[in-house]
Symmetry: C2
Subunit: 419 residues, 2 copies
């Protein structure tokens, strides 16, 4: 017996999906095979227009909301039932790749096209959403579209964000909506809530490739805490000042990072701890530094670990110092997301039924899904990317890897849309 879900997966056309992705990659293409397509630019508008045309040809209806999130809806047999949602984003990093974000949108489109071609009808409608400004590369913060839609933040909160040229987000948004005035508008509300949300994405990490696996069944998005640490000592002549009399900011930074490495030690290698930015003053070879500033990016999927170790950061740093002082500022604190079993289990079943090698894993990176998850059962499907490289023109996933992810998406959506 062939189920609707099986038929949807079978109808997925990996070659068509790859061709759509390569066509999108031409819009904002940069050297090295990458993409620079910032949100709400003419390039973004070109890409959205292309997407709308494909969706309409596949029988979907297209709407846009006040945050310029773009919605492609394939009606179900029960129009009153809450839809099942999928999607991701179409904007890229300034020196981004061809798959981050856009893959999840094109995969959703491919499911619509596959169902259209195969004449399949689900009970619930399936909606594909392209969230506005996930990357935050032009306007900070990222995930504005999904935050505004989910009510995490008000759209008006973002009005005064400016791009590097000084253009306000609100003005860029108004201009975009005016240019898209022929697209029917839908309200920026998340009610009634969708039945479920499933986002397909490249892993942006090396685990699946290293393990030879096809699919990551994402169990949640790990929480993160960011800090900026400023160590203040005293400058002194490198030739004349005895080491015992120094208050050396570089040396105390080294001691602080060493202490943090001990605090953050994790034999299971799930914890992520990164010192990525370091700045020293006066930064002269023959002057003892009077200031060293560094950042901490600490992530973990378990809220208890995130709380306990994060709360211990400042004390660990201060205990390591010899003679300097440290200011420890927490600049960001995001709680972990744990996805509901409804969707996680459905994705895992889909991968298993398709004979794909898969593992459960948390997402290390942030995604729009984290803002949707509080509203409805949500999940993510990861596909491997070469060398774990992302946010880089070298980002790559093969046509077959992407097609496998989309077959899992099709199966999962059909499954959830039948419920």
């Amino acid at each position: 017996m062939t189920t609707l879900a099986d038929r949807a997966a079978t109808a997925v056309d990996g070659a068509r999906q790859w061709s759509r992705l390569m066509e999108m990659a031409q819009i904002g293409s940069i050297a090295g095979g990458g993409v620079n397509r910032a949100c709400l630019t003419p390039l973004d508008r070109d890409a959205r227009r292309r997407l709308m045309a494909w969706a309409q040809a596949a029988g979907a209806t297209v709407t846009i909301d006040d945050a310029a999130n773009l919605w492609l809806r394939r009606e179900g047999s029960d129009p009153a039932a809450a839809p099942v949602l999928t999607g991701s984003h179409m904007d890229s990093q300034p020196e981004g790749g061809r798959f981050d974000g856009i893959y999840g949108v094109i995969a959703g489109l491919e499911v619509l096209e596959a169902m259209h071609a195969a004449g399949l009808r689900t009970r619930r409608a399936i909606e594909v959403v392209a969230w506005t400004n996930e990357e935050g590369g032009r306007f900070a913060p990222g995930c504005m579209g999904s935050m505004a839609w989910s009510g995490t933040r008000r759209l008006a909160d973002f009005a005064d964000a400016r791009d590097p040229e000084g253009i306000r987000f609100e003005d860029a948004l108004s201009a975009h909506l005016a240019a898209e005035a022929d697209v029917p508008r839908r309200p920026l509300v998340s009610a009634p809530r969708p039945a479920a949300y499933v986002e397909a994405h490249i892993e942006q990490g090396p685990l699946l490739e290293a393990a030879g696996e096809d699919i990551g069944v994402v169990t949640g998005i790990q929480g993160s805490r960011w800090y900026t640490v400023t160590i203040t000592g005293e400058t002194a002549h490198a030739g004349t000042t005895p080491l015992k009399l120094r208050r050396d900011a570089v040396q105390d930074m080294v001691r602080a990072i060493t202490a943090l490495n001990a605090l953050m030690d994790d034999p299971t290698d799930v914890l992520r701890f990164t010192v990525g930015r370091v700045e020293v003053a006066p930064n002269a070879p023959n002057s003892v530094a009077n200031r060293a500033r560094f950042t901490i990016d600490f992530r973990h999927p378990d809220g208890a670990v995130l709380a306990a170790r994060g709360d211990a950061v400042a004390d660990a740093i201060r205990a390591a110092l010899r003679g300097t002082t440290a200011e420890v500022q927490e600049t960001s604190h995001a709680l972990p997301n744990v996805f509901e079993p409804t969707v996680v289990d459905a994705i895992e079943r889909a991968a298993a039924s398709l004979g794909l090698r898969h593992r459960r894993m948390p997402s290390g990176a942030g995604h729009d899904a984290q803002f949707v998850a509080p509203l409805c059962p949500s999940g993510m499907i990861f596909v491997p990317c070469r060398g774990g490289i992302s946010h880089n023109p070298a980002e790559y996933a093969s046509p077959d890897q992407l097609a496998a992810g989309t077959r899992v998406l099709a199966t999962t959506l059909a499954d959830l849309a039948a419920a």
Copy 2:
């Protein structure tokens, strides 16, 4: 019985010296009580003109050489005898103090004025030299004047050094010499060799003040080795990349510095080891760094220690790395200077005879004396400076501290000029 040396020391006028120093400090004065007087600028010329006028009024003859080193000569009773030399430099750091360098020149002038006022006559002539461009703040490297005079380097080697505005050293030097065409020229040769060289200077370190001592009898200038270390790893996403799979340049820099701290450990606290400059790329909070570059400034008065530990630097770094590679480049290597007992003993006798608290000590900083020392018995007299602070507008030594140093200088010069 009062010796010539006693009478010279007694004739030193601490108030006159202080007033000369404060007058010089007006030429290029900057906020915070500091001085910015770069070499071969109109400010430098003003200061030199002032110096020449004072010297001539004290009966000295003034000459200038091809490197614009300025020479003030007080004739001895035996004009054929090799002169005794003293001096230092008149240029300052860009944000310098009122004493670094200029003190040694004004102290030498004060000895000439004191002897002139007291009608004292030494057997050997006494010459005060103001070396060109010791600081290297406008044209790199520093100590051009003393290096060219001593034959350490050829003057022509410096011709193409450029200041931040692109002016060539040779052009600045020619313009200066043309403007000073009325000053008699002397050849830029160190033959016949002086009988001795004594340079007075602020300590630029905290030891004398901390010990409550008046005079540092400098036994030599410690050697130094400078390195630039470049650690190359691989950038990666801070949220997704497990720590075990990273090649993190910041973490390996921390490991390398920790290993160097062990290599450079010195319970006697004579060794100087400084990491003063750190640069990281891409230097983003959520990216594992693929490059970390840092400098090493390593100094020691003992050539054997300098050789053994310096030669072990690259291996210590490489043994500390986990997954990255390091390029270790030695950018400078200066052997230690050990001053001859003739002058060191004379300075120590002078301090003792004047009842001043003194200690023998190496110089942590480099000075013109290190380029003179290979040619004739040399030595330096250090006076305390507040908090060890130098290369800073806050640099300070009191009138009494400076006068004590100049009395030691007068005694030493009279002693050496009698021999």
